[in-house]
């Protein structure tokens, strides 16, 4: 009887620990070879045949087709530079320059990867559309209310994420650390 209860207990612990860890890694995101620059993270390896089991599981669970390394690299920001989760009710400014790439696109998604409804049907910007300063840098305002310049509407949702994809770039292929890759800053300006 003691043996039965003992093994039942051990199995329960195993199930809780094992499945709990799996759930956490899939929802919070964990993969080897993560490249972090400021608020931005990318996993260039996820776009190759060498993707590790965590990346494969996350891709299958999310239901996405990842960006292949020969195509480009995708950076995600879920928080601002201070670590505050991106809130669609606040005004967030993304500004600075981007690493060398033939094109890039910035897209706003819900945390599940859907686009966010808004009256303009604007879901993001491409590098061709963005209005830049004289020195080539840009400011992008991400807020629920219309604003001048590069405005990306949030639709007022609570949590969102930004995906910055670089196409035809050496980022992720040759750059080993984040230091030589200039990424735009993400700052929360004001919250209601």
């Amino acid at each position: 009887m003691r043996l039965l209860f003992g093994s039942l207990f051990a199995f329960l612990v195993a199930a809780a620990v094992g499945l709990g860890a799996t759930y956490l890694t899939l929802t919070r995101g964990a993969a080897f070879g993560t490249m972090s620059i400021g608020a931005w993270t990318a996993r260039p390896k996820s776009g190759t045949a060498d993707a590790d089991p965590y990346a494969r599981a996350e891709i299958a669970r999310a239901g996405r087709l990842p960006t292949g390394i020969g195509d480009g690299v995708a950076f995600t920001a879920q928080t601002d530079d201070a670590g505050k989760p991106l809130d669609g009710r606040c005004e967030v400014v993304v500004s600075g320059v981007t690493p060398a790439a033939r094109f890039w696109t910035m897209t706003l998604y819900t945390v599940d990867g859907s686009l966010v409804a808004n009256s303009l049907n604007r879901y993001g910007f491409t590098s061709e559309e963005i209005v830049r300063h004289a020195d080539g840098s840009f400011d992008m305002t991400i807020s629920p209310r219309a604003s001048s310049g590069n405005w990306l509407p949030t639709g007022g949702i609570e949590h969102y994420l930004l995906m910055l994809r670089f196409y035809d770039t050496a980022v992720g292929v040759s750059a080993r650390t984040g230091r030589e890759v200039p990424m735009p800053s993400v700052t929360t300006r004001s919250c209601p």
Partner: protein
Amino acid sequence: MIRWLLLLVGGALLGGIVHLGSVMLVPRTATQDAYSRLAPSAPVNTVVPLAAPTPENEATTFMDPAFATAVCRYDLSQGALKLTVPVSQSYTSVTFYTRYDVAYYAINDRAAGRRVIELDLMTTEQRNQLPEDEDVTAADRLIVESPTLTGIIAVRALAAEPGLMPAARAALASAQCKRS
């Protein structure tokens, strides 16, 4: 007391194995992965244009709305495939995914280096069976080896501005994937 502590440690160790096993099993058991989402609307070995993603409706998650996308769900069990993609004005890329959505090969228009991207897709076995005399190393014949019998080819053409979307869609409309 010691006994329960030992059981706890043993259970936690076993939990590590459960964790690794379940992570490995996720791709095989996922029902909402990209391949399963695309399968009902994408017939085998045909290029199908995907509707532009909207907040209500998207073919897969995290689609880039700046791109026109077409997919070819392939099945190599009947033989190798030939993929032909005319290059659009700004940027075109082709990405190959396994049945479990792992991107094992991607190429863009500049790397392909001509007006039309032409690729032969086959399994390693089919490649080994190619006749010896055929000049498979010729630079004009790009061969991609698929690690799985089935999978997805995603063809993407960038519309750098929303106004260029019809042109990007038109460029993809003549893309083909068929038995070679």
